[in-house]
Amino acid sequence: MSEKLAILWPEIILFLGTCVVMILGLSPRIEARKACAAVAAIAIVLAGIVGSLAPSGGSALLPELMNYSKGLIAIIGLLLLLLATGTVDRAEERAIAAGQRTFDPLRATRGEFYAFFLFSLTGLMLCASADDLIWLFLALELTSLPTYVMVAISTRGTRSQEAGVKYFFLGALGAAIFLYGFALLYGGTGTTNLTEMHAYFAANGLNPIATAGLVISIVGIGFKIAAVPMHFYTADVYQGAAASVSAFLAFVPKTAGFLAILAIVAAPGWAYGTSGESLPPELRVTLWVIAALTMTVGNTLALMQTSIKRILAYSSIAHTGYMLVGVIAGPGDGSFTQNGVAAVLFYLLTYGVLNLGAFAIVACLEHDRGDTTEPDEADHIDDLKGLCRTKPVMGWVIVISSLGLLGLPPLLGFFGKVPLFTSGIAAGEIALVLVLAINSAIAAFYYLRLVNAALLSDPDPKGETLRETPLPLRRVAAVVATGGVIVLTIAAGGLMTAAEQAGTYAPMTHDEAERYLEAAGRASQAAELPEAP
């Protein structure tokens, strides 16, 4: 058990940070309350360093996944934290600073907000090192449960409360579905350990109960990654929450879901069957249908939106569909262009940076409604009109992020999408790659609408209340994310190597699996059958 502890230090650091932040947020002294974000940032940086340098561990099937994922989580998590500054308690703190009110711990939510932020990242890091279904379930729920509260407290309006309740109930439904799938997997294989499960599948093949468990688990985890048919909450929740929290939702639960899906799909594996080079057909068909529908539904619905957050919500659904192509393609021969797992891991990084830049524009622009109320977020697409002329920095943030999400060649999104195509083709999924290509073309329409509004349109005459947020760290997050798009494009080679290594898949052969089961005290089922008379 102690060897498990060695890979858990990042999570322990994050948890200790959570404890400090939770107490600091309730301090009557403003300096202590302001230190919350700094403590959270230090915890994330330390966890990222420890996590990426730690000895590799976690799942034996995807042995290199953990370090890459934890580094990735820390980088994007830090940017998300910068973006999340000032999400809660702004009007309250202003009133206290003006002497209109004294500090009331029951009204303050700053400590809770950052504590939940760190809790969710802790869960996400735990997902990266999961090698057991129980561990995986707890990690997924630790990722999701804090986000329900973060959505509800992110603004003072009733809209975010509605979004929080909606998110909570649908999240509970999703959790119930994949927990049911996990239970069936245990029933079908007699183990919750994913490595042992893999050995069982390699030695004995799938049985109907385990197959049902796999399919139900993946559909349930579809809630976390916002895949059809569990995508209905996405637009409403992202719109109801503050933009900084929406950016969090679009990355953190999605990454957790993809890490979980990779861990579960790796159990039967991409080297299943006698030919040894494909997913089990039932699993492939399920993922295929989900991927194709998710891309198409996401892109089609995004065409009709006028709210930027809704456009980005549907775009995040579409990106889920793109990444599922990599999950279907599998590790191939292990080289970067053919490794679908590496493609997914690299895409999570590019998507995380680009998506953050796009959501940052909503978090950074607001309509001034006077000092008495909270400023409204500038969420309508008309708010972007002429932004490159009136507020050039913000304008270019949305232009570069949109073009990046679209996958325009010189930018990062392109390098993210190419391996999805090539690995799909290498795995022989030509039809699905065609769907992916058509969907990328549809996506151009709404991303270019954003670009058109910011770059080519005249400024909206009604937009005189529009201003940049007075919160400097948010603008830093927006600029760093956009700069990151360009810097990471240049550094893409090294990141691809890291992703390629992280996507290493180590399946067992039939004989190895039987030896493994024997060593674990479980002779394979075939050996237990009585000989035919």
Partner: protein
Amino acid sequence: MTPTTLANVDLVSYLPLGLIITMAVGFAVANVVLTLIIGPKREGKTKGIAYESGMNPVGTARKRFNVRFYLIAMVFLVFDVEVVFLYPWAATFPNIAPGSPDGLMWLIRILFFLFTTVIAYIYGYRKGVFKFD
């Protein structure tokens, strides 16, 4: 299989149980008797009505509770769950071979767990859960 008769049962092994029952009954009786002897006796209308956890026993059930009622209940729950986890830990701890490194690890683990509940308590305290004014 021979039927167990009362003569076969070693009644001495039930002695601790008997002691605890005696102590429990004795404690209750002693308290009632002591209150009767040395307690102040102030009869009144309010004191005479049925006790309903501090609520007025007659009236509408749709009353609003102070939110602190729930906060206290939550803090109680933290410690309740803590004890639920402590019990199996305490039952397993003696089985660890003395002197093995696992023992220290187990102790550190439960101390870490207790630390988290202390954090929850400090959080509740700072939030003003125990402040009634």
